[in-house]
Amino acid sequence: MKTLASFVLLASSLQPLTPVAWGQVKNPDTYTYLTISDLDSLDPAYSYDTASHMVILNVYEALLTYKGSSTEILEPMIATKVPSIANGLLSKDGKTYTFPIRKGVKFHDGTPLTPEDVKYSLMRFMLQDRVAGPSSLLLEPILAHPNTRDENGNILDVTFKEADQAIQVKGDNVAIHLKHPFAPFMTVLAQWGPVLNKKWAIANGDWDGTEATWKKYNNPKKESSPFFDRANGTGPFMLERWDKKNKETVLIRNDSYWRKPARLKRVLIKGVDEFATRKLMLQAGDADAIYADWPAYSQLQNIPGIQIIENLWSIEMNPVAYFTFKINQVANPDIGTGKLDGQGIPPDFFSDRDVRKGFAHAFDYEGYIRDVFRGKGIRATGCIPKTLPGYNPKQKNYTFDMKKAEEHFKKAWNGEVWAKGFKFTLSYNSGNVPRQNLCQIIKRSVESLNPKFKIDVRPIQWSTFLDLYKSSKLPVFIIGWQADFPDPHNFAFPMMHSKGDYPSTQKYKNPAVDRLIDQAVRETSMAKRKALYAKVLEVEYEDVPHLTILDASRYRPQRSWVKGWYFNPIFPDSPWGGYYYPLWKE
């Protein structure tokens, strides 16, 4: 009888999952977001990926934050005021910022937040300085050197003292002294260096905040940090668990939040690699928002209950084609014979401006945007995206013009390029369809100009890309750049400055543009900065060290019952993930 009863119980539960009726909200208190990214670490000083920082954004809080959808206007968070010269919290020389610290803010374990926690968090963010981590984002503006170790990996002795002097607690305030004015400093602070609980950190085996021990915690192992998979912030959500096995992070509402508690009780961030599965779960109402790229766009349209929010402009430059001015020719088959003989290219082939201009005119930008990005983008006018100050919509950029391309190729290398032809390999990282299309369009257009022009297109794995990139062996490399903080410096420096990430590999150097960028980052007047960046864009147009293609927009598929969402492109994993505090389901 018992067996029969069990069977009946089982059989009765074999009913369809509750279908989502019109207007009925599934799991009204729980918001589920499906992504493809894994978290790396929940330690704010360690992680440098969007998936981790999306969680960190909801669990921790920084001194400042961005106001609504704006990337320029800041509002106080843990600080009570945004420093400015007008309110006297920013010194006239632009080097000292004073942050009055909010009272009554408690960490998730109930401990009150103090100015000492703020100082500890910023110091820890800088001094932990794990290799390939985010610490340079604060080290550079505050201490004016990008890391805490020399070229041989030896820890610099002076760093602690410098940091200790630079960040000082003065009563209820925290003052930060910069070595030089750094205009985007507050936008950096709004994104990086959230406030941790010093006592909790020390009690759980982390750095005690003293000079005697800081080196022991420099460049740590990821898993050794107590913040790796635990969290104790002040944010609107608390970390319930990071389930690495099921690729799932669960956040639960902080009912003791210093502002009004969030309307959602729980947030689930789940890793689902397969798009079809994500789509079915969104359709069934088991997910409220999912990650989706442009190739998936048509599959998400006209589905009842699913809303597509479009025209969400990202702060990135992707893809960009960079020319290597001095190619490493050692064991490098990508440049063929290494000579301008029709079967290869010399290592300095792209140092000739006419070659670069030839390539710039031989690319069908509009066709690429229309066909590859479904027309959901606009032609870039340089390295500064349209969402940032300094963007100049009137800045000239190259247009698709085969006649001009031919003219430049005929002039290049005193006519030798046109007469002898060339051959090299153009590589993209395998699996990246937009970059593959870009390479194929370059190949087709350039080869059509002259039968002696030969370009091989080759997919390479990310690991191979790193190998060739590091040794400057790629004649042209295709890559993107995503903002660390919403400021033109974050694009002008890595893409145009000779010490920037890409020019240093390309071996591109223009002292004039270096000076402009250095000057712009120290200038406190936004109007003057914009004028300086306008000049940077002009040099970029003349020098053509790379081809910027488009300013891309994205879209967000979500259930139409999700309310309160707004787009801020600087939020990590935006527009799919983001900030959950304002959301509710209805």
Binding site: T18, N27, D40, G153, E223, K244, E274, L280, D286
Partner: protein, 341 residues
């Protein structure tokens, strides 16, 4: 028999050593910059590549790197898997139970259906059941698992809302992570019974049906064909004719005499199939978002996560040795002429 089993187990360290040296050796063909891709994932990290190489000793010679890993292993430390975000031992413990559950749940139908259908197809050669088995075998073997998996998911989840992807529902997810539910084994079907929670049991079962069916449909094909051909060979032998001449019932002739002798190749194939499923069924796990060990293994390999790859290889070597041992023991059971020496 005990000596035989012990000898097989004694082989295990050598198999493990061989596999890991081979893998480590192959990885050395990649440059340090390529192996740094595990830690340099974002263009923003490119400038720190040299420091990454130094930090993780990627330029050290092969014997040094392998020696360090082996020394760690002898202390019981398999290293840290960057892709699993946990130590390798923990990763194996975390991912393996889900795969074991899926493997057992799909393998039992594969075994029973494969042997039964293969036997019937041989006995009723060129009759409708034989044709049906051939049809199933051809379609099953030629159907890519992601196509079948996605179709099943679209019908049974997308349309009928019956069988969802993943390992459990939101309600179960929240329940099993509370104190009200003890995870004794990590096998959630077993744990739900031990917790006397039928609703969790049923929820887990519902999530297992589609991936198990996909695996079953695709893998049963081979077993059906092998059983059929082996049975055809046996039922045409003299001893079967003699048994029939003696007046034995047909069912006894087939089931007791012919099938038992036909099982040797079936056992070999079954053990390989079972070990294969245990080693991970990546595509099925990906389509159904099932948190098994296969997905981890492939991610570790594609991202050059050396400790992860080594741990996975060692586990697979153990499973392979155990699978072979199981097959050997079964050979002796079904055919007493085979002695375990």
């Amino acid at each position: 028999m005990l000596a035989f089993i012990l000898r097989r187990f004694a082989l295990l360290p050598f198999v493990g050593l061989g596999v890991t040296i081979l893998l480590f050796g192959l990885l050395q063909f990649l440059t340090p910059e390529m192996r740094a891709s595990l830690y340099v994932k974002d263009p923003r990290q490119l400038s720190a590549m040299e420091e990454v190489i130094r930090r993780y000793h990627l330029r050290d010679p092969f014997p040094v790197q392998y020696g360090v890993w082996l020394k760690q292993l002898l202390k019981g430390d398999l290293g840290y898997s960057e892709t699993a975000k946990m130590p390798v031992e923990k990763a194996v413990k975390a991912f393996f139970p889900a795969t074991l559950e899926l493997a057992v749940f799909s393998f039992l139908p594969i075994l029973f259906l494969g042997v039964w259908l293969g036997t019937q197809a041989a006995v009723k050669k060129d009759k409708w059941l034989d044709h049906l088995s051939r049809f199933l075998a051809i379609t099953g073997y030629s159907l890519p698992s992601f196509v079948l998996g996605l179709l099943l998911l679209m019908i049974f989840y997308g349309q009928l809302k019956l069988l969802p992807p993943g390992r459990f529902s939101l309600e179960t997810d929240l329940l099993i992570h509370t104190d009200k539910f003890q995870q004794y084994t990590g096998l959630l079907l077993v744990d739900s019974l031990l917790n006397r929670n039928l609703s969790v049991f049923w929820d887990i079962l519902k999530h297992l049906i589609l991936p198990a069916f996909t695996l079953c449909y695709i893998n049963v094909a081979l077993l059906v064909r092998i059983t059929r051909s082996s049975m055809l060979e046996e039922i045409n032998k003299d001893y079967v004719r003699t048994a029939r001449a003696k007046g034995l019932e047909e069912s006894v002739v087939i089931n007791k005499h012919a099938r038992k002798n036909a099982l040797i190749p079936v056992i070999t194939l079954s053990s390989l199939l079972f070990v294969g499923i245990l080693g991970g069924v990546v595509i099925t796990e990906t389509v159904f978002n099932y948190p098994g060990i296969g997905r981890w293994g492939v991610t570790a390999a594609s991202q050059l996560d050396v400790p992860g790859v080594m741990g996975f290889a060692l586990l697979y070597a153990c499973l392979f040795v155990l699978g072979n041992l199981g097959a050997d023991l079964l050979y002796a059971y079904v055919d007493p002429r085979i002695r375990l020496k």
